[in-house]
């Protein structure tokens, strides 16, 4: 039995990481959530499956509409589908049992599913719209429409969003965004403060919602990886890999070994690129401009080498269904190895400076603290989770290529403050440098791509990758060849869904001027969660 207390028929999806799928009833839907939580497991993602899609209306029996959830336990990931009653007419409400009481992180995902697919969590405490700011009518559910005949909507008036009001003597509000002061993505933050102390932060996101998941269903599966790589530009490698893993699992194809190693090599390079940028920006946000100048220089060197070897500074579109676009030759291997040595030495020097700098540490320590208990209750994941003792890292948790060759050391910390998130980043840079060296030296020879044959019949696939920010999950449902293998549904899940709400807690009791620093220490994606 994979989930205690439940007798479920699990089907293993042919992916390199352990992922199972099962159908559940409404009762099992809730039992499973509670059982996973009690076992110390986590909610990985929650989304609506293909709902009322037009392919089924052509007279043939189609699969029922489903609500989906994915959980993680020590054994792997479990994708559960809950069939919903058939839709009598488009626009009619579909309901399923609320999960936010078991996993608080489910709240926003449920609100997003209501906006996009018209499925509603029965009994949910918060039913405010999340992604729909009034750009399309509230009774129009984009993911229910036929992708080929989607009407262009007349924009309606912007919704006056009901923020939670904090009242009391001297309490006032600061509204920030959506256009922020720095060069960052848009979102709105509403601070309720007394003096300079933050009593409460409420986020409103969704500004960059650009219909990504709808767009996925309009693209042929072999080309949709390009779009997946643009869900969040800083995680393009991770998304492209997760999508390709999902597609390859739906096609029951195993990619050549060398391709897998090259993908991992790029993923680790992406991790280092992001960490270098963040470490510099974190120094800068604590008024240590030297840090930004130094780390941004190292990042530029790093990106230029990516351009030289992989053909793109951010390595966009380098991972494709079936493998990767190019190989690393001997000269390039030497270049990358040499760069690891240079960067390691420099980062080591900067690490010593950061560690010994009293002013910097004073700003880092105890700022934006998330205790391990809170992190576990709210489901804090990825890098930020590891800085609060949430010891999960897909690269270490399961036995899969090529990470099973190299004993990845998980970077963790228990303080859960900005300083801890800085230290985890440093540790991960050093560890990834080690991994990159080993990959370059030990990588097996062979093909870097294979043909991918799309399945005859409708198929399901999933991808799960530890990006630099945390784990990405892609759930893919393909139609059979009689329907040109259209993508019926592709959900792309970013770890930012879990971590944004935790940031609201991390800032409580801190001073307003520390918000940029604390926010940067999480560095969450707007585009990745707005989709």
């Amino acid at each position: 039995m994979r989930i205690p207390g439940l007798d479920l028929e699990f089907e293993a999806l042919p992916a390199p990481v352990p992922i199972w799928h099962a159908q559940v009833t409404a009762e099992q839907w809730q039992t499973a959530a509670t059982a996973v939580r009690d076992e110390g497991g986590r909610l990985l993602a929650l989304w609506a499956g293909p709902i009322g899609d037009a392919q089924g209306s052509a007279g043939k029996a189609r699969e029922p509409d489903c609500m989906c959830a994915a959980y993680v336990t020590l054994e792997g990931a479990f994708w559960l589908s809950l069939p919903l009653a058939p839709l009598p007419q488009i626009g009619r409400q579909l309901v399923y049992p609320d999960l936010a009481t078991v996993f608080p992180a489910a709240g926003r995902m449920q609100r997003a599913a209501a906006d996009l697919s018209g499925v509603h969590a029965l009994g949910a405490a918060d039913t405010r719209p999340w992604l729909n700011h009034g750009a399309w009518p509230a009774d129009h559910y984009p993911l229910q429409q036929d992708p080929g005949k989607l009407p262009l909507m007349e924009a309606t008036a912007l919704i006056d969003y009901p923020f939670v009001r904090v009242e009391g003597d001297g309490v006032h509000e600061i509204a920030v965004g959506p256009v922020h002061a720095g060069i960052i993505e848009p979102g709105h933050f509403r601070f309720s403060i007394v003096g300079e102390k933050v009593l409460r932060l409420e986020q409103r996101l969704g500004y960059t919602h650009k219909g990504t998941e709808k767009r996925m269903t309009q693209l042929p599966p072999l080309q949709a990886g390009k779009l997946a790589g643009r869900v969040s530009g800083d995680s393009t490698v991770a998304y492209a890999w997760a999508y390709c893993m999902a597609l390859e699992s739906a096609c029951q194809t195993t990619v050549p070994r060398r391709a897998t190693w090259l993908r991992a090599l790029m993923l680790e390079r992406e991790r280092i690129a992001s960490h270098l940028a963040d470490l510099g920006a974190l120094g800068n946000d604590a008024a240590f401009a030297f840090g930004l100048a130094q780390f941004s220089r190292l990042r530029e060197d790093w990106l230029r080498a990516s351009k030289a070897v992989f053909g793109h500074r951010l390595m966009m579109d380098c991972i494709v269904p079936g493998g990767v676009t190019g190989d690393v030759n001997l000269d390039q291997r030497e270049l990358l190895l040499h760069q690891c040595d240079v960067i390691e030495k420099e980062v080591r020097t900067l690490f010593n400076i950061y560690e010994a700098h009293a002013g910097l540490q004073d700003r880092f320590m105890t700022a934006g603290r998330v205790t391990p208990a809170l992190a576990s209750r709210l489901g804090l994941t990825g890098l930020a989770g590891r800085a609060s003792s949430q010891t999960w890292d897909l690269r270490c948790d399961h036995d899969w290529l090529p990470y099973n060759f190299m004993d990845v050391a998980m970077a963790t910390h228990h303080n859960g403050d900005v300083a801890a998130r800085v230290l985890v980043r440093f540790d991960e840079v050093f560890e990834s440098l080690r991994l990159i060296r080993r990959m370059l030296i030990e990588m097996p020879l062979g093909d870097v791509a294979c043909e991918l044959a799309l399945p005859q019949h409708a198929a399901r696939g999933a991808g799960w990758v530890e990006g630099w920010r945390g784990e990405l999950f892609v759930a893919l449902e393909l139609a059979g060849s009689d329907q040109q293998n259209q993508i019926r549904r592709c959900h792309l899940h970013d770890p930012s869904w879990q971590n944004w709400p935790v940031l609201e807690h991390a800032i409580m009791g801190n001073i307003v001027p520390d918000f940029p620093l604390i926010n940067k220490s999480f560095n969450l994606s707007y585009s990745g969660q707005d989709l």
Partner: protein, 172 residues
Amino acid sequence: MIWKVVRQIAKTGIRSEPAPDICADDAAQAARIQRELLDILGQALTIREVDAGSCNGCELEINALGNPYYNLEGLGIKFVASPRHADLLLVTGPVACNMETALRRTYEATPEPKLVVAVGDCACDGGIFGESYATCGRVSNVIPVDEVIPGCPPPPLDILRGILKAVRRRVR
């Protein structure tokens, strides 16, 4: 402590590279660009960046312009925190419908010369996202655009060239 910092600075040296050649017959150098900006604007060029719905890829490359190699501020170009302080808006992304109002208001708040440069394929023509229930597509569907910089994302030097081109074309 401070000695460690100073030593690292000294060891690193000056890494700034010559500014890009922005027209075929003229190898423009930093001082030239600086003087040109002064001639055209009579002041440093101030830019407000607006992400109108991008994937964040373009922001990464715009941020890279601030690193020591490109030495943007050395050229007399500065990113500012408010559109009210800006000569030029650097806009990325297909314009998400949820950002349309914010983008229009930012444009209205910008004083003359009110230059607009659209950065990246999505900002130029909607890119892979196109127009849909959720996006208005290219930036010029929402506000007037002076210059477009294609690329996904365009590398920092292309962005710098595009900015300079916009300043030359509109203001001169």
